[in-house]
Amino acid sequence: MAHEATHDHHDDHHHHAPQGFFQRWVMSTNHKDIGTLYLVFSLLMFFIGGSFAMVIRAELFKPGLDLVQPYFFNQMTTMHALVMIFGAIMPAFVGLGNWMIPLMIGAPDMALPRMNNLSFWILPFAFTLMLSTLFMAGGGPAGGWTMYPPLSLQSDSLAYVVFAIHLMGISSIMGAINIIATILNMRAPGMDLLKMPVFVWSWLITAFLLIAVMPVLAGAVTMLLTDKYFGTSFFNPGGGGDPVLYQHVFWFFGHPEVYIMILPAFGIISEIIPTFARKPIFGYRAMVYAIASIAFLSFIVWAHHMFAVGLPLGADIFFMYATMLIAVPTGVKVFNWVATMWGGSMTFETPMLFAIAFVILFTIGGFSGLMLAMVPADFQYHDTYFVVAHFHYVLVTGAAFAIMGATYFWLPKWTGHMYSEFWGKVHFWCSVVFVNVLFFPQHFLGLAGMPRRIPDYNVAFANFNMISSIGGFLFGASQLIFLGVVVHCAFFAKKKATDRVWEGAKGLEWTVPSPAPHHTFEVPPVVRDEELAHGHTDD
């Protein structure tokens, strides 16, 4: 029924993109154009957030304050995190979901196209508001992206940041509702839930996480706002409040949030590896169930970010055990990716290189995660560079590498042209080498006792900080190659992409022409099991 209604509706539409720039991009209700907007926006934010990281690494290049005041340094660490999390990683995944979910499930568009437009166009305003605080008299937020009170209440820019976060949350919730509505209602006949690509599954689960936790963040920051401006005492012990309450509420959002940033990456890797191994994904159902159980566990592990706040013994033990459990479904996913490669017939184009680097380096981030879960050891690791190394391994070589791999994987479908494989590989090898030079020494710094979020340090930490900074500058510079490859492919590349693009590519998205026309699947496609990336689902 839903399919027919949508189908009729779309018959009135033009089959080409609207001509005017303003009409096409600002008033768009087309999932492909909105997906492109999201991706371009996130690339811009990636470079803005990256430039903040360059300031941080430059100040930490050697002992002694050489470039910026400590308070500005704290603004940089805070803004780097907020921009990268809410501006770069999350919108990139929403963009990929917008572009690919309708193509993968055989839907003509997203279920709620006008809301899709709104959920994107909120973001530039939210980030303009947030970034503008850097140019205000009191400066930007400097209390860390976690905004722990009472420290965050000392900031003059709190109201701006809280409002920006509200806007980002509204955008995320609308995007998540749209994705759920699309996946549950708009699948082509025959595209059963357990025949959907893993990427679609990962986004379906992620969307539920978003709807569950973004309001929690909104509540937490609203309480900060009323504590600062309206005389409430939610987190003020002087009025009977409790600063630790904020941390509980924040991390009840915050831990699902980190899975919001990694589950779609799991989905992407589960699309890329079977394509270039030319073999169906191993244990499709186990992969789906693993994502679902990771999502469930993400709700009951929040206090592992708070082992140093003086939790009662029983809470320490509960959150330690629950956290360690996550290693099981995560391990299943890693083993299944390796088993997908085993017995395949592999080639190593750029997307596959990023996927393999993801599996190895994300697993290293998982190992340090397991170490951090052990509470007595965490008493030492907590709030040191060991934690910084850990979450950059899962977010940079995890989430960001998956997004880059996905970009190379689907760019020919988006633009109709092949990107430069040579420059793609140059980008990959530079990134993978320098990202390790950047982040691996930070493990040692943390173990040796260097706290995080400090602008200056004892000379004992000098060697590894200098190595890390050099890696950071080179990793940052390597991303200009990425920009060059994408721009070249979009506007200047000559080599046409075939519809299938990759020899081993399976799934509905590869049955439409390259570039994907403005409107696709106006007539629902016929779904054949052998055309799906995970083969027959009789396992």
Binding site: P63, G64, L65, D66, V68, Q69, P70, N74, L151, Q154, P237, G238, G240, P243, A277, R278, P280, F282, Y284, A308, G310, P312, L313, I317, Y321, A327, G331, V332, F335, V338, M341, W342, G343, G344, S345, M346, F348, I356, I360, L370, M371, M374, V375, P376, F379, Q380, H382, D383, T384, F444, L447, A448, R453, I454, D456, Y457, N458, V459, A460, G504
Partner: protein
């Protein structure tokens, strides 16, 4: 803790040159023998972070070996799993390449291996959880302490108040402890001063030295009550093996029992504003006799001018006392 008696009296001098266990945890046995060898020498343990230090410190207290040991075990487990998984990946990448004529197989499922690689990690995790739980229970037990120190965090310094010692209350021994003057001058933006020139007793103490260290006796179970006057801080001396947040309105507890005399340095570990990086912690651990003498001197010094001493202590408790105190960790 039982392991305490074994370690009592062992001295690890010159840690700055040869940190035991500086390589990964699987070499714990080597580290132990190294420490024993070094125990033949004597001298004060000057526990600074080491240039090029790769692993956690072993620490100097009866409990600090717990995180160190756990760190080494879990790191070893991760290294072994990593070698197996990445090894399998690299074999797959070499054997199953299209350029070598590999033909893709059709299977995509194997119940037996899936059950195996779900079960084995569970067993490993149970073993790790068992190890970690023991250490945690011993950390939570602050009973039987012979001394109490109240630690209060301020933006950006620490205050130490001596509450009781060997069952006797101590009054009016308490003081602020903040970044030493030389580090403070050197760390100013464009100061032109060289951080490498900030040394104490031949060791670089840039940003990890204070004007007045916390003086503690060794071989004494010391209970810390930790709170804050403004924002959240975290009191961390790596050689003690733990950090504990200092939170306004809340009194957290922790304990230590130091085995060796020496100077142990740490830093605030929770972002607390612009000078978060500049509020170090220095503990001077002395023998019980020296401590008794030092304490007597302090009490005597504060006795003739009680008015001045009490007014100095007043701001420490003014705000926190008003709020309902909640004890963490019993």
């Amino acid at each position: 803790m039982t392991s305490g008696s074994i370690r009592t009296g062992r001295i690890e001098p010159n840690q700055h040159r040869t940190p035991p266990g500086r390589w990964a945890g699987i070499r714990r046995a080597g580290a132990v023998s190294l420490a024993l060898a070094l125990a033949l020498c004597s001298g004060l343990a000057q526990a600074n972070p080491e240039p090029g230090q790769l692993n956690l410190t072993r620490g100097v207290t009866t409990w600090s070996e717990v995180p160190y040991f756990l760190n080494n075990v879990v790191l070893g487990v991760c290294v072994v799993i990593g070698i197996l998984v990445f090894g399998a990946m690299f074999i797959a990448m070499f054997r199953f390449r299209k350029s070598r004529g590999a033909v893709p197989e059709k299977w995509s499922h194997n119940t037996m291996v899936e059950v195996i690689w779900t079960t084995i990690p569970v067993l490993i995790l149970v073993a790790l959880a068992w190890l970690a739980t023991g250490g945690l229970v011993s950390f939570a037990d602050t009973t039987g302490s012979q001394m109490t120190i109240k630690v209060t965090g301020y933006q950006w310094k620490w205050r130490y108040d001596y509450v009781d010692y060997l069952g006797k209350p101590i009054s009016k021994v308490g003081y602020m402890s903040k970044l030493d003057a030389l580090s403070d001058k050197t760390r100013q933006l464009h100061s032109g001063l060289d951080p490498y020139a900030v040394t104490t007793d031949g060791y670089n103490t840039y940003l990890i030295n204070v004007d007045k260290p916390l003086v503690l006796p060794i071989h004494t179970k010391i209970r810390f009550v930790i709170t804050s006057d403004d924002v959240i801080h975290s009191w961390w001396v790596p050689q003690f093996g733990w950090k504990m947040d200092a939170i306004p309105g809340i009194v957290n507890t922790a304990w230590t029992n130091i085995n060796e005399t020496g100077t142990y340095r740490g830093q605030c570990a929770e972002l607390c504003g612009q000078d978060h990086g500049f509020m170090p912690i220095v503990v001077k651990a002395v023998s019980q006799e020296d401590f008794a003498k030092w304490l007597a001197d302090q009490q005597q010094a504060s006795a003739p001018a009680p008015a001045a001493a009490s007014s100095a202590a007043a701001p420490a408790s003014a705000q926190t006392a008003a709020a309902p105190a909640k004890a963490g960790n019993g």
